[in-house]
Symmetry: C2
Subunit: 302 residues, 2 copies
Amino acid sequence: MLNSLDQLKELCRMGQPVTVSVACAADRKVLQSLRDASEEISLSALLFGRKEEILSLLSSLEISSDLFSVVDCSDEKSACAAAVRAISEGKADVLMKGDVPTASIMREVLNKEYGLVKDTLLSHVALIESPYYHKLIALSDGAMNIAPTLAEKASILENSVHFMHALGVGKPKAAILAAIEKVNEKMEATLDAAELVKMAGKGRFPKSLVDGPFALDNAVSSEAAQKKGIVSPVAGDADILLVPDIECGNVLYKALNFMGGAHSAGLILGASAPVILTSRADSETTKLYSIFLAAAVAGSRR
Amino acid sequence: MLNSLDQLKELCRMGQPVTVSVACAADRKVLQSLRDASEEISLSALLFGRKEEILSLLSSLEISSDLFSVVDCSDEKSACAAAVRAISEGKADVLMKGDVPTASIMREVLNKEYGLVKDTLLSHVALIESPYYHKLIALSDGAMNIAPTLAEKASILENSVHFMHALGVGKPKAAILAAIEKVNEKMEATLDAAELVKMAGKGRFPKSLVDGPFALDNAVSSEAAQKKGIVSPVAGDADILLVPDIECGNVLYKALNFMGGAHSAGLILGASAPVILTSRADSETTKLYSIFLAAAVAGSRR
């Protein structure tokens, strides 16, 4: 059972060494976090961008260029394209955003010719360590899909289940969240939850246990579930929280991180390689753990 | 500044004594919490329901009937109606749900003849004490309005602002929540936030500061807001969090209470008196603080 983000390092050490492909790598914090990560796990990096800028940053950060190969690219678009191609050509295992807008790198990820997406849906997952929960819990999607349809929710759930499998959780328990635990025709989140549970019954999400709708308390607290008379193996023991939309997911993610003492790591799932899109607002810890998380997922795939 | 729910007791002691009207009062936990509350603040109660059952419960709980008057009612409907009439006739200041479904009591609250609602919208507010925030924060609406329209959001915000005024917060700061802090046409929550800010500019919410859209982190953390370059008196210092819908509000409420070490109290606003609708799932603390909260609001009105 995973109960701390630090265990991600152990997972990385058990898996294969990984190479990170960084688009527009002239970013001090990105390079620092890659250096910090490489001191703890087997990790190398291909740095795409303006070579001079990158080399000068590496030198000012006193990072030896042994683990990091720099590939000169004249502009943002070519750096993003080259970083993505490195993945599709099998030269790297994880894609990471450097000093470039998310939209620019995602455009290349979605490129039909050499991109990383076939017929899957991209989704964001956060892996959260909360002092108020007995194990790590995955939350999806609080950052990418705005108002997913039922079919999209199914894809998001599928991505999350595969993600937990990659982390060694053999049969993750997924709680489909809503405001209440009963199906109510006026509340789409509860109707979709019931449909997802039906899909699960038909084998759509192999090696998982899917149940819902749940209000959050019943998904994470056995005591709360008991008080409500809810009997489900998922109640109080969820590994995955599937939220109905981005507002709900984002608020939950932020509540745990900013008003709940939690730490977290985040990834984009659904592409042929994990994608790290950390932002300025993320803490150093989040950036570092996101690299470990991507490496653990990628290392388990090879 | 209010920074602990315990201060509600002080507010009650500064205000007028209040009388609670309880619909279907034959409920052990409700009577216990009323007794506990009456030991700390000036509070009496009118107990509507089957007189024999109530008296027998009071006796088994060793509650003296000095502060509690029992009014015999033959059935649920008449008990709810009588409890509501006690408010409209000025005999009581706070309505409280006993052992009766929420729908039954709300039907009487909304009764056109003797009910407690004119042209206002009813909304739920939770007042939350979080160990990760420097003051109490109000959250609305995570329990009553499912998917409020812009006009309904304005009413919910209005109720919340009046509520904070009643608690002595002269100029509450309200953060309109969304998943991001920029207006995005694909995200209704951000469009509505911008409209609410415009309404505020035109004086719709007197004696308040309204801003948004905010992602939660920017509403409650000055550091997060600074990192994002957000300059607003509301950023990092919100008194009120207005959520876009019930899923978002409920998940936030539950996250803080079940995965954030918070305590809270809850009320229904918008009627001519505060309404307490505690549920089986609420902790004893929540029940007790909800009574203090209702009494503080009612006591400030008289």
